[in-house]
Symmetry: C2
């Protein structure tokens, strides 16, 4: 870095990076640590939808007090990964078809708009911004080759998370993170990961190539149909499996 013009930009970028690092390390409160562990347990299926989380049991396992545990419960409740039933405890929510429709309605509006805005607002998107998307696409393809379908699903979702990230909106990122967390809950119920994720690996690559070629309008239209198809697939899977009586709560 030699010239003075880019020095200020470099400094700004460095400050932002440091601030991000600090924020990440600060994040070490007991409640949030416990929430992290529980979040993984839920999204990975160790705590399936409908399961109850006993306070006494978890205070012993996580080695935290009831107050701190309940703080973690509140955090996850706000993310939609837990629900409170008064005087009965916290449960992993069981989402139904109506929730799927609701989630996909929001996904379509937000994601499609992000892609459209890329074309309208700033035609000169730095190519480096697309790198995380390519990483996700390749990660999904590799996982598919290895028959690791849950991992493929995770990579697919990270693709969409990074796509939203292109908008540089903190609030949009937070909303998306929550929507995808709830979607993972839906995937847990269906439990046929291959049929669920396989068709969208190649579509993600197509989408990436459209973005790389700066064909934003076509990418937006493509993504819209993509999400409609994905929603339809999930709803169909729900109706296949769904006629069974759910676990009694």
């Amino acid at each position: 870095m030699g010239t003075g013009e880019t020095e200020d930009d470099g400094r700004q970028a460095w400050l932002r990076r440091v601030a991000a690092d600090v924020a990440r390390l600060d994040r070490s409160s007991s409640a949030e640590r416990a929430a992290d562990i529980l979040r993984r347990s839920i999204t990975e299926g160790a705590l399936p939808p409908g399961a109850q989380l006993s306070e006494i049991e978890l205070t012993e396992v996580l080695e935290i007090s009831r107050n701190t545990l309940r703080e973690a419960f509140r955090l996850l409740t706000h993310e939609g990964l837990l629900v409170y039933k008064l005087h009965r405890g916290v449960f992993v929510p069981e989402l139904d078809e109506h929730d799927v429709v609701d989630l996909y309605r929001l996904r379509r509006v937000l994601e499609v708009d992000v892609v459209r805005a890329l074309g309208e607002r700033d035609p000169e998107v730095p190519a480096s911004r697309l790198e995380p998307l390519l990483d996700d696409v390749e990660a999904a393809e590799a996982a598919a080759l290895a028959d690791r379908w849950p991992a493929a699903g995770t990579a697919n979702m990270r693709f969409h998370e990074h796509l939203i990230g292109l908008a540089d909106s903190a609030r949009l990122n937070a909303i998306t993170s929550q929507l995808l967390a709830e979607l993972r809950l839906v995937f847990q119920v269906i439990a046929t990961p291959r049929e669920l994720h396989e068709p969208y690996i190649v579509r993600n690559r197509t989408l990436f190539e459209l973005l790389e070629a700066r064909k934003y309008e076509q990418a937006a239209a493509d993504l819209h149909q993509y999400l409609l198809d994905s929603e339809a697939g999930i709803l169909a899977a729900f109706r296949d499996k769904g006629l069974r009586g759910p676990a009694r709560t």
Copy 2:
């Protein structure tokens, strides 16, 4: 830090009002009761952006334990009305121009889509669904006639909340509620309520009439420009004030 004696007077008056509120409300849980009081204090400006909320002081004023107070803090944090800084306390967030742009970007996407979807999905919207919107329009008009501009602003925001409600999406309602709460924070910084809210009272009525006439496409276009104008007005007021909220955590 201390700016003068008038601040102390204002603080005393605020303390007295809080004490009165404590005596009056007895029905809900202590944490929610405290959250109600604090929410009003924040949205009405008694606790301005940037203010720190001392735990010890508030436990004495609100007559609750620190744990209960922290529960109330969590509730308000989820609404976006407070932010935690680890080991430093809770603060009323200071939003800057970037936040305004972010908030309005989301508002435009979501609200315009709700109106469009009304036309596409279900041309037969029951007229009764629009009644809350009319109530809000009339409430804003009445408040404007009485020179009660904060009340007019509140009615305006409830109009938009009810508008979003037409989509019947629990998640959309939650997101909107939080966006508008943060917007109230922005209004507090500007502190010229009349100029801020007056132009939009008549525009809300226009919007309502377009919806009533089922001219959804025109309503959507109208709303889009409406939100662009509102954003521009707020940004202009920000630059006039020259008050900057630099901290971005």
